[in-house]
């Protein structure tokens, strides 16, 4: 079946093909041995919860593992995050988190940021569904906090 079904009008703007793909086949779900960053993030209002693990070597994320449960948006967002952060320096991860925040707030994204985000720009569809923005942000906010904490050690 394709989009534009009777009554499901704007759904395709929220659930772009890339989002549904990440929702159905989440990336980097294997647990990380001896993780440097290991955190649970959850949104008690939705019940969404994710377990995020990172291995950080020479200030770069060498391995990432994310598992959890949640709606299609929060799961796809976590999977996109897992795909993006692998191999990135902490500064690059922070830049990506900022770009995602700006994207979801509806602010203009620079060309440079668009390059960083790649597929993640598909999350921008959530702007038309304001109550779902927190679903898209959940894992990013958690990652940001955990990374700050790790670097402060």
């Amino acid at each position: 079946m394709t989009g534009g079904m009777s009554g499901l009008g704007d759904m395709d703007e929220l659930y772009e093909a890339i989002i549904l793909d990440h929702y159905r086949s989440p990336r980097n779900t294997a647990p990380v041995e001896e993780a440097d960053v290991d955190l649970e993030v959850n949104n008690p209002f939705c019940g969404d919860e994710f377990h995020i693990q990172l291995k950080v070597e020479d200030d770069a994320v060498s391995q990432v593992g994310i598992t959890g449960r949640g709606c299609a948006i929060s799961q796809a967002s976590a999977s996109l995050l897992a795909e993006l952060v692998e191999g990135k320096s902490s500064a690059e991860v922070r830049a990506a988190v900022d770009a995602v925040r700006r994207l979801l707030k509806g602010e203009e994204i620079t060309d440079e940021e668009a390059d960083i985000l790649g597929d993640i720009e598909a999350l921008g569809g959530v702007r038309k569904f304001p109550v779902r923005i927190k679903c898209a942000l959940l894992s990013w906010v958690g990652l940001d906090d955990a990374l700050k904490e790790h670097l402060a050690k």
Binding site: M5, S6, L8, M11, F45, C46
Partner: protein, 421 residues
């Protein structure tokens, strides 16, 4: 005014669903280009034009402060405000209208009892018994009170179908129990609890029973004397009335002995520079200028329901619930929480789809004009006890139809199709 002598009479108006729907202007609107199918009544009901008009009439014709002046508008406003109280008292078969206290909502009613009656009557080593299916607003005030007093908060358990274990209740409620606080109808499971039996257990040990009737008073005949309740709380906005107003009903002797909740105008009898003493019931608990317009509109909502007759309201919802249970379960991949026998429950159906998260379902149904609730329904411990973190909930009222249930079921199928492309 018909039918004000009894809350449970047949009502003078025929239960004509088309005529009822015509009374609700909001049912004419489109949502996302589709006809609105409003199935979030357990959160808040829609309002008939009779209630909306009563607000307009009040502000256009009567607006003034109550219990203050000798001028015509103040007298008329006072009469209308007090008449609404009398209507509510009759609606729940309260022995005296002074036992009806206007609050902001059910939560404030519960907090009032916690801060006054329970503050004075619950001590160290005592216990408060609630069910494991309460709304947060009937958990947290008692948790906080128990912390403060060194009292114990105990829970009545239920089985997998969400039916209270009454045999177990007789050992949970004991000689140190001061209060049993239970929901009359669960906002998640739809379970109707055996309040009269819990009242018997509570009274046998000298405890009082408080009933959270937020989900029952709007939908079924409720008689505080038949239930043998001591306190009963509900909100107007779930029963066709406006937001911002609720009711605490309590037995006169209990209310009379309780200290005030808030201090200010109207609740005092006499004030000197040194001291003050308190006004009679119900005013002792109504400090400051009250929510006059919304109280009067609550009276209009009670008139509307009384004219239909609560027996017929309940019968309509029972039929719709039985039909909805059957249709939703026929999808084959949906689990319904709570009693599986529709006769044991009210018109609230919380369900879990085996593959679609409630929020994705909620968004997809909204695109089809169908409003349901998703999430933890302000009952996190209960929802978690079913090993889920969120559920979708459809809840019905007088204006809902079988074809709207069909729209819901069809909407779920469409959503399945969308996500399995």
């Amino acid at each position: 005014m018909s039918n004000l002598d009894s809350n449970s009479g047949a009502g003078s108006r025929a239960f004509d669903i088309d005529a009822i729907r015509a009374d609700f202007p909001i049912l004419q609107r489109k949502v996302n280009g589709q006809d609105l199918v409003y199935l979030d009544n357990a959160a808040s009901s829609q309002k008939p034009s009779q209630v909306i008009q009563s607000l307009v009439d009040y502000y256009e014709q009567t607006n003034s402060n109550v219990h203050r002046g000798v001028h015509t508008l103040s007298i008329e406003a006072t009469d209308a405000y007090e008449l609404a109280r009398t209507k509510v008292a009759k609606f729940i078969n309260a022995p005296r209208s002074e036992e009806v206290i206007w609050t902001r909502n059910t939560s404030e009613s519960l907090n009032l009892v916690a801060a006054t009656w329970a503050e004075a009557n619950v001590g160290e080593g005592d216990n408060i018994v609630i069910t494991a299916m309460e709304h947060h607003s009937n958990i947290v005030p008692w948790q906080q009170l128990a912390f403060k007093k060194g009292a114990e908060l105990r829970y009545l358990s239920h089985n997998d179908d969400g039916v209270i274990d009454l045999d177990g209740a007789s050992s949970v409620i004991d000689s140190r129990t001061k209060l049993v606080a239970a929901t009359h109808m669960s906002n998640v499971l739809g379970t109707i609890n055996p309040i009269a039996k819990l009242a018997e257990l509570a009274h046998a040990v000298g405890a009082v029973i408080l009933v959270d009737a937020a989900q029952s008073v709007p939908h079924m005949p409720v008689d505080v004397q038949a239930l043998d309740a001591d306190f009963l709380c509900f909100s107007a906005h779930k029963m066709l009335g406006p937001t911002g107003i609720g009711v605490l009903w309590g037995r006169y002797d209990l209310l009379d002995a309780m200290p005030p909740y808030m201090f200010g105008g109207d609740m005092i009898l006499e004030v000197t520079y040194e001291d003050a003493n308190w006004n009679d019931l119900p005013y002792k608990f109504e400090a400051g200028t009250p929510n006059i317009a919304d109280a009067i509109a609550t009276g209009a909502a009670v008139d509307y329901l009384s004219e239909l007759g609560m027996d017929k309201v309940w019968q309509h919802e029972q039929e719709l619930t039985a039909y909805a249970m059957e249709q939703v379960l026929s999808l084959g991949n949906v689990r319904v929480l709570g009693p599986q026998d529709p006769a044991l429950r009210g018109g609230v159906i919380s369900f879990i789809h085996e593959s679609i998260h409630p929020h994705d379902l909620g968004t997809a149904l909204d695109q089809q004009g169908i409003a349901i609730r998703t999430g933890h329904h302000c009952a996190m411990p209960l929802v978690r006890s079913f090993d889920v973190v969120a559920a979708a909930r459809a809840s019905f009222y007088i204006y809902n139809t079988k074809s709207e249930v069909d729209a819901l079921v069809n909407g779920i199928s469409e959503t399945e199709g969308y996500f399995s492309r």
